[in-house]
């Protein structure tokens, strides 16, 4: 009865059809033929792009640093295989716009020869700061899709004396099962990564949260964590978007992260299981982040699978390997079907953020016949952030963006629940992304206008001052002249 009055720990969310079985039941595939060319973007993370330190024509070894991180929030990029640098130039980005961004093109030589690596004998003897340094140098970023540099997060955790590390194994997006498989097959390594992170943050406790639709992963992780009493593995309800960090934090700790704060400020840090695994590889084996596990799925894929892919592999290569039927592919999506973004074609590279590539057929897609909003309020009840999508959409439709911001546009996490549920097929998330972009652009324009105005004002003031000065000088001159004339007249009078 008491629990009835407690604040609800999960809000909103939807139960989407999972479509995970096809990939979650088979082992990760490791034998993707090494692509001839890799297209490695310099920005695969939140923050500043990395700066290349190789030149066209250079020979590089696998794991060699290609571009170093610039500034506090940034991450370096390494060579996923050995070969020759063909080009450093702008190529289409894996983004709906496919606008060109800077990439390094690497022609692989097929030898896959490693650069000599150096590993510490006992990483737990390292200073925590040293762990962060190594994680940062390995180019590790949040592999759940947020791609925030992991080292920065470790540092923030340490500085804020975080008491709980949450490891996000919820993988709530439909179709995706790369984390599920990783947990089933590499539980020991992930747990080791968790311990290293705990050490790196000087934090005591870790909670690994896994949705209860992954019993095998839970069992594997639970077993692997048994020897370490500070690491707790728990099951959480299956409900999209359980993997939203703030939802998960509230569910696990009961704490709510205030708007505008980082979770570490309330004593919690959250990392993805894939990130923990990458940390293990970086610290124990000295291997930077060169590849990741990607789920290739969708009804147009003949052999859906989880596969280890070197970063920079073109999606078309994956499609060839998995035998995707390009005729029936109605949409290519990078990421999951709820939050992922559609790509215009498959000639784009995979990056650190790519958790899945979906080739969806028309029958899997949401109906696009838009109808008027019937105010069914389904979008309100599924919104995990507590927003009113229908009202925001109404405001945006009549171009009242400020009103939309007032009722919470900036708190929207683009989770897609509202678009998913809307019976009128209104592209709500599209509205919100458009409006956010527009608001940002307007703010920038206003900022610029203000700056221009300030410059103008300063110039006007200067001109005025000069004019004033000239005027004063002129007056002084006139006064002096008058004075002189008066004196002269007086003199003449005296003479006369």
């Amino acid at each position: 009865m008491l629990s009835f009055f407690k604040k609800p720990l999960i809000r909103g969310g939807v139960h989407a059809e999972e479509h995970k079985a096809a990939t979650a039941t088979q082992a990760i595939v490791y034998n993707l033929p090494l692509p001839k060319k890799l297209y490695i973007p310099l920005q695969q993370h939140v923050g500043k792009p990395a700066e290349p330190l190789i030149r066209v024509g250079d020979k590089v070894l696998k794991g060699q640093l290609l571009a170093y991180s610039q500034g506090v929030i940034s991450a370096p990029v390494h060579a996923p295989s050995s070969g020759i640098i063909l080009d450093v130039n702008d190529y289409p980005a894996p983004h709906p716009s496919a606008l060109p961004i800077r990439m390094i093109v690497l022609e692989t030589d097929g030898k896959d020869k490693w650069i000599p690596t150096e590993v510490p004998i006992d990483p737990f003897r390292l200073e925590p700061e040293d762990i962060s340094l190594r994680v940062g140098a390995a180019g590790i970023v949040g592999l759940g899709g947020a791609t925030f540099p992991t080292a920065v997060k470790l540092n923030m955790g340490r500085d804020n004396h975080v008491d709980t590390l949450i490891i996000n194994g919820s993988e709530c997006e439909p179709y995706l099962s790369c984390d599920d498989r990783l947990m089933q097959e590499r539980a020991g390594e992930i747990i080791d990564g968790v311990r290293l992170m705990l050490h790196g943050m000087r934090t005591e406790n870790a909670v690994v949260a896994i949705e209860d639709n992954k019993p095998h992963a839970f069992l594997a992780m639970h077993t692997a964590a048994l020897p370490f009493p500070t690491i707790q593995v728990i099951q959480i309800p299956t409900r999209y978007p359980m993997g939203w960090d703030r939802q998960l934090i509230r569910y696990v700790t009961g704490k709510e992260v205030p708007v505008g704060c980082r979770s570490s400020e309330i004593g919690v840090t959250i990392h993805n299981v894939g990130t923990a695994h990458a940390v293990h590889k970086a610290i124990r084996h000295g291997q930077p982040l060169l590849s990741r596990i990607i789920t290739v799925a969708g009804a147009a894929v003949k052999h859906p699978m989880n596969i280890e892919v070197p970063l920079g592999t073109l999606i078309s290569e994956l499609f060839n390997f998995c035998e995707v039927n390009t005729e029936t592919t109605a949409r290519i999506v990078m990421g999951g079907p709820m939050m992922g973004e559609s790509l215009p074609h498959s000639g784009l590279p995979t990056v650190k953020a790519t958790s899945g590539i979906l080739a969806l057929t028309a029958s899997e897609l949401k109906n696009t016949e838009e109808q008027p909003c019937i105010r069914c309020a389904a979008c309100v009840s599924v919104c995990p952030a507590g927003l009113r999508p229908l009202d925001m959409a109404n405001n945006i439709r009549v171009n009242q963006l400020d009103a939309a911001v007032d009722i919470g546009l900036k708190d929207c996490i683009s989770c897609g629940c509202c678009s998913y549920i809307c019976p009128s097929n209104i592209p709500l998330v599209q509205y919100f992304k458009y409006a956010s972009g527009e608001v940002m652009a307007r703010q920038q324009a206003q900022h610029k206008a203000e700056q221009n105005k300030r410059l103008m004002d300063a110039r006007n003031a200067r001109m005025e001052r000069i004019a004033q000065q000239q005027l004063e000088e002129e007056q002084a001159r006139l006064a002096a002249k008058a004075e002189r004339e008066r004196l002269k007249a007086a003199e003449q009078e005296v003479v006369a």
């Binding site: 973004e341 897609l365 949401k366 008027p372 069914c376 009840s381 897609g416 549920i421």
Partner: protein
């Protein structure tokens, strides 16, 4: 401006329920009570039903054509049909054809299209039409046919039914009477006591719907079943029906306990008039009810309160229509003040404080 033509962001997959699916589910839930009503009141009721529903659809087509749009996809969403259907349910079963047509016209044109069509209206179209009809044509709207099931001897044949629908009734007193609520109201006005008034009242017959009343509103049982099924299907939420019925029951119980000779029991309240139809099908209309669970609870309580007040002290025996319209008018206000709390903010929209460790 923002279209699906280049759907860049999610969700790429979607739930199956579409607008027309929802409308059809509601009609399916209405079906048992409607069929039962038509069976109880015979061919004239069927005539009225068909006339009302088809004229509602026709008016919708005309409106959309006049706006220069293609009518077919709009009709296919089923909303006009549902409006006509709900209106027909609330009309006296042997009403003449023009009541149905006028009602549909009011509902579709004044109740919906002048606001800009589906989703834009402030008032529930069916209730708006019903109340307008009741005020304009009080005689026709309170002429209640006796229960005369199809194929029984009292039931008018097909030819007679056409005459009733298109030319009106000639032997009104022989085949009509008062509804339970109307009867109680008249008797109260002659200072009779409840015990005497209700000598012949059968709770059971009223429960299954064997009583005078609107075409589809008589069967408490079938309407409640339909409503509960809709809740289980996830088409409507329980907040409005339950809070509405709860409020009426609570108020009626208190007054009935205090003075059982002048205040009818909660059972009779729940069992008569438009109560079930309104609670499950009218008040839960998406467009004209609040968006949040709390708002819906407030709305339901408000409706229940008003229904009880109008029934008990008002001039009309049945207050459901007025109650719903009044609460419809309050809906924007409710939605303005009762909003969900945004994650990480307090109720006023300010960021939460960082908890001190």
């Amino acid at each position: 401006m923002i279209t699906h033509l280049k759907p860049a962001s999610g969700a790429h997959v979607g739930a199956k329920a579409s607008v027309s699916f929802i409308m059809w589910q509601v009609m399916l839930a209405l079906l048992p009570a409607t069929v039962f009503g038509i069976w109880c009141f015979g061919w004239p009721a069927l005539n009225l039903f068909v006339i009302t529903v088809s004229s509602a659809v026709l008016f919708e087509v005309i409106c959309i054509r006049m706006a220069g749009r293609v009518a077919k996809p709009v009709i296919m969403d089923g909303s006009a049909m549902l409006t006509g259907w709900l209106l027909a349910m609330t009309l006296p079963p042997w009403s003449p054809w023009w009541i149905g047509v006028t009602g549909s016209g009011l509902a579709i044109i004044l109740g919906k299209q002048v606001y800009g069509g589906l989703g834009q209206n402030l008032f529930n179209p069916a209730m708006l039409a019903r109340v307008a009809l009741l005020i304009s044509f009080p005689i026709e709207m309170t002429t209640w046919a006796n229960v005369s099931p199809l194929f029984s001897s009292q039931s008018p044949g097909i030819a007679d039914s056409w005459r009733i629908t298109f030319m009106g009734l000639d032997n009104i007193d022989a085949v009509t009477g008062a509804t339970t609520l109307g009867y109680i109201k008249t008797e109260f006005s002659q200072n009779h006591l409840l015990a005497d008034i209700l000598k012949d009242y059968s709770g059971f017959l009223n429960f299954i719907g064997w009583t005078r009343g609107s075409l589809g509103e008589t069967s408490t049982l079938l309407l409640a079943l339909g409503g509960v099924w809709l809740i289980r299907q996830g088409i409507i939420q329980w907040y409005i029906p339950i809070s509405l019925l709860f409020t009426v029951t609570g108020l009626a119980s208190i007054f009935h306990m205090v003075d059982s000779q002048h205040y009818i029991s909660p059972m009779i309240h729940l069992n008569s008039g438009a109560m079930m139809c309104v609670a499950f099908f009218i008040a839960t209309d998406y467009v004209t009810s609040p968006n949040t669970p709390t708002g819906q609870l407030v709305f339901g309580v408000g409706c229940g309160l008003l229904i009880f007040v109008i029934r008990t002290w008002g001039a009309y025996p049945e207050g459901a229509g007025f109650a719903v319209l009044l609460m419809n008018a309050a809906t924007p206000l409710i939605d303005h003040y009762i909003r969900p709390r945004i994650y990480g903010r307090d109720r006023k929209g300010r960021p939460l404080e960082i908890p001190k460790p």
